[in-house]
């Protein structure tokens, strides 16, 4: 019941936030000095042609009318046509979204599964050789540039050892998309070959993205656990003889995770940004690669569409983090 109230409360804020995002995307694209009409018309167009195209695109209308039209179009799923691929932007984005989401979500899961236990152990064995070693690894993990690390991984594992694919998402064309998430599609089709192939292709990009993510998670979990270990409730639970493992992995961990979950939300945003680079290196057919191509070819509609989708995903992740936070920490519930 409380959780439901919480979810509804957070959902109420979802729509104004998305509207804000739409406004930002719209106005940024309209303060850019370039004239889309001139761009569409081509180099040798007469002023009359440009004016005609401007009228056709609705660019001669006042800004607020253009904004309302923009929102109407978005609500209908119309993000315009990409001048690069010639296809509707919305279609392009939707076909690429699963690739990026799959990569990002798997990265988050892997980074959490590695980072949270290491953070706890690091805190419990504070100032041991393990803690020091982890500190070096985490600082390195945060400092290393991901495109460089990605290339190193390719050189070692794909080129020299030949145990991982160099790039791409799958061999050949991949399964007929059901959800577009290859792992899920493979499970639906119950095709272990596809599943294995998809996972195999994911190893290096996930490793590249997971290193800094896990480093952040280790550091925040460690700090949270140390903080909780100093608390009065741990003193009390110890004094009452609660088993140590229960105190650490149940009572301490849940308190420590409050900070970690917030970080995981932020990491998601960083991963989306990082995906642009990593997808380019691994030739991963996701949003990042699409965005890079769109920017390089001044494909306005595509850039706006990507910005909107990335922003919306970030808002959704924040919503989920807020809800999780409320579920972990009952004092947050309002």
């Amino acid at each position: 019941m409380k959780t439901l109230v919480l979810i509804v409360n957070r959902l109420i804020w979802f729509f104004p936030t998305v509207l804000g995002l739409l406004a930002i995307v719209f106005f940024i694209s309209h303060v850019i000095p370039a004239d889309p009409a001139a761009f569409v018309a081509g180099e040798n167009a007469t002023p009359e042609t440009i004016a005609a195209i401007r009228a056709r695109l609705g660019l001669d209308q006042p800004l607020h009318i253009q904004f309302v039209r923009y929102i109407e179009a978005i609500l209908e799923g119309d993000m315009g046509r990409s001048i690069f691929t010639g296809r509707p932007v919305a279609e392009d984005l939707m076909s690429r979204l699963p690739a990026t989401l799959e990569l990002t979500l798997v990265t988050i899961v892997v980074a959490s599964l590695i980072g949270i236990p290491l953070g706890v152990v690091s805190a419990l064995k504070r100032n041991s050789w393990l803690d020091h070693a982890l500190r070096v690894v985490t600082i390195a993990g945060l400092a290393i540039a991901s495109f460089w690390f990605a290339i190193l991984l390719q050189l070692l594992f794909s080129m020299r050892l030949g145990i991982t694919p160099l790039s791409g998402r799958i061999e050949g064309w991949g399964p007929e998309p059901i959800t577009g998430f290859y792992v899920i599609d493979a499970l639906i089709l119950w095709d272990m070959e596809i599943l294995w192939d998809a996972l195999h292709h994911m190893i290096l990009p996930v490793a590249t993205l997971a290193l800094p993510a896990a480093a952040t998670i280790v550091r925040f979990t460690r700090a949270g656990v140390l903080n909780a270990l100093e608390s009065n409730y741990v003193l009390y639970e110890t004094a009452m003889g609660y088993p140590r493992r229960l105190v650490i992995w149940k009572y301490v961990l849940r308190n420590a995770l409050i900070g970690t979950v917030t970080q995981i939300g932020l990491i998601f945003g960083i991963l989306l940004a990082g995906a642009v680079v990593v997808e380019a290196v691994f030739d991963w057919p996701g949003l990042g690669l699409f965005a890079v191509n769109a920017i390089l070819s001044s494909d306005y509609n595509a850039v706006m569409g990507f910005t909107l989708i990335a922003g919306t995903m970030f808002i959704v992740v924040n919503l989920v983090v807020d809800i999780l936070q409320g579920m972990i920490d009952p004092r947050e519930t309002r």
Binding site: S231, N232, Y233, L235, Y236, E237, T238, A239, M240, G241, Y242, P243, R244, R245, L246, W249, K250, Y251, R254, N255, I258, I328, D329, P330, R331
Partner: protein, 345 residues
Amino acid sequence: MASELISVRNLRVSFGSDAGTAKVLDGVDLAIRAGEIRGLVGESGCGKTTLARAILGILPRNSARIESGEIRFGGRDLLTLPESALASEVRGREIVYIPQDPSTAFNPVFTIGTQIDDLMRFKSPLLRGGADDRQGFFNSYPRERRAADRARVLELLRLVQLPNPEAVLRKYPHEVSGGQRQRLMIAMALLPEPKLVIADEPTTALDVTVQAQILKLLKQLARERGVAVLFTTHDLGAAYEICDRITVMYAGQEVEEAPVDGFFERPSHPYTRKLLDSLPSSEAGIRGIAGEIPRLIDPPPGCRFHPRCERATGICRTERPPPEAVDALHSVRCHHRLSATEPAS
């Protein structure tokens, strides 16, 4: 004495810090009999809490050091017992704890019911001598025992006068009042049917109006169940309310031990006398004790009270006085103890 439940002998504990080693407990003796309610009084920093935590074996491992002494309890020396045995067999079973601040002692992100369930899962009296006496994270909690435990919990929550116990169990700690939280702490302390309750200033964090109720409740339940209580406090009034005997500590040394009447009527240690004189009264107003509490990093030798004591002589500076009997239950550690007939200073 044969009926001693726990006896602390010559306990020395020091705390290391950058400034030096603080000798926080300096050869403390303390014996508590079964069913006795013992007050441990003294100013802040006199070592009450350290003594309480030493008995529970929860002194901070990286800073505290036990230099010498023993704590005999149930035929064993708790100081030589391994941590695993202390955690599974002593703490939460034989010796339990009521904390100073119940609002921070509860884990904020779990319901009260969860925290009590976990206590009963590992510390229920139904476990005693039972087959699954082991501890572990994945130990099962058989349904029959769970139901029986739940009945005990509800019964005890009623005994500590919590309205609507079932609802309380579903709440989070921040959703109940401070007084209710401390009632819950008392209930949790008594649920494992312990022999000794260590109550470390259990009412300090509460409103004055609630304090008296909580003390009364603690006393009544301890009496009914024959549970001994070590009650640390700096509040002499609270000690008078509930204690059978009182031990006075000064700067890491226990200086006097007396039944509650003897303590208030015939204090024999100059420090006890000054402590009683410092109680605000309508005639005298508020009087402090001249001088300052000594630094425990470099404490005065002999009787640690001698720099503030008018009766101190040479021997006080070199030798800590041994315990001397005033009567059967009353003993004092002073080379120049006050006689019963002496007027107040």
